[in-house]
Subunit: 216 residues, 2 copies
């Protein structure tokens, strides 16, 4: 366990930042929240001050002393190694693998191809954009549902909160934004209901972040 | 270390299968190679026999006894834990995190948004499809180049082969397929030259797979 106080550069609605916030809250890690508004003034992530810190011009970025780490799964795995309390990976190697399989289905197989920059391919046609995101998320969650048939208990893997759960909840939020028919995914829904009741998941929700607008 | 003989379901040209093949070769793990042709007859991954094994209808799929694992990074992390010889993650937690950061930049940030199903969005316009893949790969590799400025030695991280290297080489192959200007990435090029000379990287190359057509 390190003694430095970490900083998370985050945007309240960024699903990748949200994953990391859940891990930080679940492990009860104290950190400073620095909001980077991804839209205002052309995007604060492109300003010189933030670029000096993270030349990739993305959130989340995780800072510990003078070191900066980007990419949500890399940050989550780092937190799991450095702050072992309230473990988010099981000890059994096969179960760890199944957790990472679900993580990757969401973080590589679903979210990147439904997000803003890919949607912008069809930017002149907003209904087409929504249809695309809806289709990709539906396909991604259908795959997750298949895996959860083998793995889920109360949560994605048995009855312990894991990194898979930290990725699932923000993806469901995106699914709802794009009107995905969630009735098709009964296991995901059951797991989500359990997760949403947990204090860490409440604390990490976009609506609980300091940069969430009070007037919607 | 397990005693069961693993099976890799692979397609010679699949960059996600290729990543796993490099790990298997680097760790000198004996395994059976089962080819799944992703194009022939509408795609062998959709046939009943393979679907019974992997309902996600994707390669790579890694089988150990009666257990099946999908998703390339999850498989690579599992191999690293189960077959610790010729380690592909450093011991230092920060360095491990930097390796995973590069892995994610390629496997979540680049490959999924340049691949076939996303390209099919613009399927009526092949030149637009190539431009899109070229743009996404160029952007992705530009980010990797920035990180490598801090991390690279002979390989992506210092002078030891890591999971990052196993992901980089297949991505460069995709870059060349889509005519990305690789001159812009001197560190990536230098690292690639070193990697391509290694026996494991030669053994895992698409051209060395049993399902690679002899007549190109």
């Amino acid at each position: 366990m390190t003694t430095e106080r970490p900083i998370l550069y985050s945007y309240f609605r960024s699903s990748c930042s949200w994953r990391v916030r859940i891990v930080l809250a679940h492990k009860k890690i104290d950190y400073d929240y620095k909001a980077i508004h991804l839209v205002r003034d052309g995007g604060e992530q492109h300003k010189d001050e933030f670029r000096a810190l993270n030349p990739l011009e993305q959130v989340p970025a995780f800072q510990l002393g003078d070191k900066v780490l980007t990419q949500s799964v890399a940050i989550m795995e780092f937190l799991e190694e450095m702050y072992p309390q309230h473990a988010l990976l099981p000890k059994d190697p096969w179960k760890r693998a199944k957790v990472r399989e679900i993580v990757e289905m969401i973080c590589s197989g679903t979210q990147p191809i439904q997000n803003l920059s890919v949607m912008n391919m069809a930017r002149d046609d907003p209904p087409e954009r929504v249809r695309w995101s809806n289709y990709r998320i539906t396909r991604g969650l259908a795959g997750v549902e298949v895996i959860l048939e083998q793995t889920a208990g109360k949560y994605c893997l048995d009855d312990h909160v894991t990194l898979a759960d930290c990725c699932l909840i923000p993806q469901i939020y995106n699914a709802n934004r794009f009107s995905v028919d969630m009735e098709a995914f009964p296991i995901i829904n059951r797991v989500a209901r359990h997760l949403e009741a947990l204090p860490a998941f409440k604390a990490a929700h976009p609506s609980a972040q300091p940069d969430c607008p009070t007037d919607p």
